[in-house]
Subunit: 330 residues, 2 copies
């Protein structure tokens, strides 16, 4: 039985790990820690979790916990993931991984030193829909892919206490949403893209509510990346990837949460074929992957150098748009 401890009484934990864990017989959510004991106890009671702790240190010091799920604000990811690793825990860390590439490097060094797993929670990555996209790109079925458009935008109003609207805590549209299309593209095309152009709209200092990027991958396609969080988007939710190759095109709708409805539209020789790929929730697949890694059955697909490179690209994008990497936002 793999025993999981939750770092932070976070709303996302319910769908991201509590529900997936309830469907398995080899894991249990054994404990939760929050910034104070009342908050932790409240959360533990709501979700039927045995132990509640009023400090993060108490949780990571336990010797009956195997895996820590870090759902704290991004500004606390580095500090507490490193401490958990050095206490011998595996860590599944929410995205964005860290405030900047420097923090990411320190986290990966801690994982290396401890010999424990550090996996970034890009849940989409573990779903069969993404495996299908990867297969189509790598098989050459689309020919040489020359142009890519990608977007993740969600109609989100600013609510009191919202992390994603707070730059010093790691907020911003690129950190919260745009990180997904950046990660899709990096995973599909590899290497470090050149940033040709970057532009952000900031309703308050350093806080990007939308971000546009043009990237050129080495020996790869020109990629347009967009993301936005605002009350005024035409659609509530858009998580789309469009790949244009010289032999075909692929459009994917809802690559972030395909279990909530998605579409693949593959066009070759002028004929469009629309289909879907069966799967569980992205979070079920993510937990299955993490467990398989802990059991030594497979190797992590995210985290490590991938996470460092991802944060470096985010840092560089902020700089290219005339903003500060999040680690410098105070």
């Amino acid at each position: 039985m793999i025993r999981i401890g939750l770092l932070g009484a976070a709303r996302i934990a319910d769908q991201a790990i509590i529900q997936p864990a309830a469907l398995r017989n080899d894991v249990v959510i054994a404990a939760v820690a929050a910034s104070n004991l009342e908050k932790a106890q409240a959360f533990a009671q709501q979700f039927g979790i045995e132990h509640a702790f009023g400090s993060y240190d108490e949780l990571i010091a336990r010797d009956d916990i195997d895996l820590i799920y870090n759902a704290l604000p991004p500004s606390l990811h580095a500090k507490w993931s490193i401490r958990a690793l050095l206490h011998g825990k595996h860590v599944l860390c929410e995205k964005p991984f860290a405030m900047d590439a420097e923090e990411a490097k320190a986290m990966v060094a801690a994982a290396d030193a401890s010999g424990r797993l550090l996996i970034e929670a890009y849940h989409y990555r573990f779903h069969p829909v993404f495996a299908e996209v990867e297969r189509l790109v790598k098989s050459g079925e689309l020919g040489t892919i020359h142009t890519v458009r990608s977007n993740f935008s969600v109609r989100i109003a600013e609510t009191p206490g919202s992390l994603r609207h707070n730059a010093p805590l790691g907020g911003g549209a690129l950190m919260d949403l745009g990180c997904y299309p950046l990660h899709w593209l990096r995973t599909l095309f590899g290497g470090t893209p050149e940033i040709l152009w970057a532009d952000a709209i900031c309703p308050k200092p350093q806080l990007d509510s939308s971000f546009e990027l043009r990237l050129q991958f080495p020996n790869g396609p020109l990629c347009y990346v967009g993301c936005a969080m605002s009350e005024h988007l035409s659609r509530h939710h858009d998580a789309s990837l469009y790949l244009e190759g010289d032999k075909g095109q692929l459009e994917v709708l809802n690559l972030v949460a395909p279990h909530q409805g998605h579409k693949l539209c593959l066009t070759k020789n002028g004929e469009a074929h629309e289909y879907q790929i069966n799967g569980d929730t992205t979070y079920d697949h993510q937990l299955a992957h993490v467990i398989a890694c802990i059991k030594g059955e497979t190797k992590p697909l995210t985290g490590g150098q991938d996470a460092i490179d991802q944060m470096q690209l985010i840092d560089d994008a902020y700089k290219a748009a005339g903003l500060l990497p999040r680690g410098l936002c105070k």
Copy 2:
């Protein structure tokens, strides 16, 4: 300011009403009541709610609450909705409305006697995607609609304490999922359909994990209705409606939660046109509708006689499949 009280510290409350309320400046979630005080306090603390009560009676007796959101198990909907109405509160009641039509009648009588609103939380009903489906059906664009296929199935494993796997609490696939396609069809075609055929699969007594129905609407189409909850479905989530008329066809994917991705495919003269309709979340639209009803700006689209007729059809479907209406399950 309309002050909302939550009956039950339910998981669904976060997306169904807490998040939508946070986006408005004319409502506030003022209180929550649970079966014990610790549970209520835990929930109040997690979501920043001012008052917590350890009994439902304490909440509905408050004179500073305008609207009760009833998210208790279906077996408790009638009792507590009636008490809340008789204490002068408006009630938004989760679906399924009641255990059977008899309970629904008593609830509607209480609403009539109190002069307060009683609205059933069929959130899909208030989203512009459903308005578009209704427009296409009522305008005659599809001609005479003769055949309809509808389905709502979700890959759901049985977890400890699951209400939907407990018949005496109001569980079952038809109560939990199939109620949606039944409500779509009743809203689109009106009147009381004849049940031509009904069949349920029950892994334990009276607990339907899947349900199939064939319905004939008066002067309307033959409708196939399916629903299933199981670990073994080919797709994680299917909420689809297919309408076949003599002038055209319409396929709708994800009519339950179109804000998480949906598709309308309208075919006329052999040409298919695929599109989407902008909107907020179904729950945002639902809360906007409830508030507009309270302010007297519009009339409720669900609840009342509609809820009684809906429960009567569910009762009749259970009987037609050789099962007990939920009110008789002990």
